[in-house]
Each structure stands twice: as C-alpha cells, then as structure tokens.
Symmetry: C2
Subunit: 201 residues, 2 copies
C-alpha cells in the first residue's frame, strides 16, 4: 500500500513555514512519502479565526522573533527578516499553483527558491517581477509563468486551496495533514515523523 502524501500547508509570510520547508523533506524522504506543497493565504484564515500575526502580539511577538532566529541557527538555516513584512504572498502562491499544474517536478525547487528569497537572501518576493525572476532561475520559462500568474484559473486554484485549508481546520502556518491527522507547527515535525513511522498511537 502506498504510504501517501503529507499535505503541507504554508504561507510565504510565515517564518516558521520557511523553517518547515527546509526540514520537511528529511521527514518525507525517510518514509518515502510525497509532499503536496499547498501555499495558502493566512490573511483569509485569520478573517475566520480572529487570529493575528504572531509577531504583533504583546510579549509573545518579541519572544517569537527570538525563538525563530534561535531555531534557524540550531538547524543552520539562513534567516533574515524581509525588508517588507508581511510578505505579500499572492504572486508566489500563484506561481506555485501554475507550476504544480504544468511542471510538477519543479514545484519543490520553486517553493524553496521563493522561501529562501523571502527569508534568506532578501529578495523582494512581494513583487511579481521578482517572483518571475526566481521562477526563471529554477528553470521555468519566464513568459509562461508570467501568463500563469495572471491566469484566472490559477487565481481560482489559490482561492480553492485556501478555502479547502480552512475547511480542513488549518488555522496557522506551517500545518501538515497526513491521512487526516493534523499537525501544526514546525515543532510538530517530530510527531509527524513518528506518526508516519508507526501508523499513529
């Protein structure tokens, strides 16, 4: 029987989503499961849940900044706060959904390039032009991806993915669902790992 896939929900503005994107393949590869890369819009989720960005919260915001940098250092992941925050994620998300539909084998590379651009190397990923540059750097034709970002069907894919995330109970980023079992937060990758290995407990 196939071991299935991890549905990996993430928002490009989410620093912990970025850290998860750098760590999830180790877990997936260990168990030979696929990753279904599902960027979504956390703003739409917050409208439903009344949530707000972590870094804006009193006390918790300061701590979370320290914690995410400390977590990045622990794993040796380059981490630099973007010049503009929140990172406007729409062009990145659309580029990913277009790539999933047209060049699925390049999806992981594109997600990594976009996330590293946003949180590692200071690229202005909130601009569509930069997203297209980054897509081109991962071997995707820039004219095709530009058309894809503007395609109404791709816009709809992002909306559908976000609605589906809310329906499935996704309230934050990163969020993982494996065979209907939900895991929230990069610090739950260890539970996800054990869950896949054991079939649950």
């Amino acid at each position: 029987m196939s071991k299935g896939a991890i549905d990996f929900y993430f928002e490009f503005s989410s620093p912990f989503g970025y850290l998860a994107s750098e760590l999830i393949e180790t877990v997936a590869n260990r168990h030979a499961v696929e990753i279904n890369w599902q960027p979504f819009l956390l703003g739409a989720v917050f409208k439903v849940t009344g949530g707000s960005p972590l870094v804006n919260k009193p006390l918790k915001g300061d701590y979370s900044q320290r914690d995410m940098r400390r977590s990045a250092r622990l794993h040796g992941i380059p981490f630099n706060w973007p010049e503009k925050f929140p990172v406007f994620p729409v062009p990145s998300c659309r580029a990913v959904y277009w790539t999933k539909a047209n060049h699925p084998e390049k999806t992981a590379d594109l997600v990594h390039a976009l996330y590293r651009g946003a949180w590692g190397t200071g690229r202005s990923v909130w601009e569509t032009g930069t997203v297209i540059d980054i897509a081109e750097e991962t071997g995707i034709d820039r004219n095709e991806v530009e058309a894809g970002i503007g395609d109404p069907a791709i816009k709809e894919s992002l909306k559908t993915a976000t609605d589906e995330a809310i329906e499935r109970g996704v309230f934050g980023s990163p969020f993982f669902i494996y065979r209907d079992e939900p895991f929230w937060g990069v610090d739950r990758l260890d539970h996800l790992d054990k869950w896949i290995a054991t079939g649950g407990w």
Copy 2:
C-alpha cells in the same frame, strides 16, 4: 561553576504545563540543574497581553485538544479533562509557595500531586479542601498548609511571582527561563535541553 536552575513557570489550568511538569525533571537531571517551580496566574498575564485560553479559539481550540491528548499518549502520561475548567488555581499556587518557604524538599512532590490530581485523576483541585487533602497525601501537615494558604504573606508571594513572570516576558504556560534565555511551550524542552548542554548557540 554551578549550572544554576531552570525557572519553570506554569499555570495549574494549563494542560501543556501539566505535560511539561511530567517531562522537565528528565532534562534537569540529565544536566544536574535545579528546577525552580513557579506557579503563576495566567489570567493576570492575559490582562496584560490580551491573550485568551487556547481551547476557546476557533479551529485552534479543537486542534489543541487533539494535540494535547496525542502528546500525552506519546509520553504515556495519564490525561483526563477536568470536570471544571479552567481549574481555579489559587489554592494550589498558594500551597506550593507555602511549601517552597517551609518544606522546599517537598515542592516537586506537591506540584506533581496537584497537577496529576487536576489532569490525571479527576480531583477537584479548585477546592481548597481538596488541595489540603492532596498536600497531606504528600506528607505535609494539613493544619499547617491550611494556615499557609490563608496567610497574607503567601498570598503576596503568588502576586509577586505573577508580576515577576510578566516582567520577565512570560506570556504563556509552560515557560522556562535558563540563565535569562526564555523557552515557551512543552515542545521547546528539546531546545532547553540542548541549550543547557551546549551553553547556547
């Protein structure tokens, strides 16, 4: 040089605080550091931070219930939701501060007995009489602890501890501070563990 102590801030109404109380000694003992047990009132913190109990939040509340039970099962910790929630934590906290001042060697046992009563075995720890029973079961004189719970100096100790927690940036439970380095959440015990081992990174 002494390796110092982990300041362990927790609220008796906090299920993740309970899980942390069952796991922290493994970390502390591995490095021969002390634990400074610091119960506090999360309600007073929420007044400052605008926070609210996790389990009341849309989507996040349902997930957190599932996550805490799953975490308890993973570690083999008995877990049962208290009949009354939030658990009114004041008598438990005062009993702990009185014990710290008068029988410090019994502090850890009392914390465990109260937390297990609340989250494991269904005791009505929101009642002062039950707290006194539990204290007696851990070898503390019931008349002495009853007087201690009503002592104005002990009431003040709890207030001071809660104020100090807020000053130190404690915004949730469990929260650990080791040599001014803050760690929030039972899922940060692994970082705390590495931090003590390595001196930080």
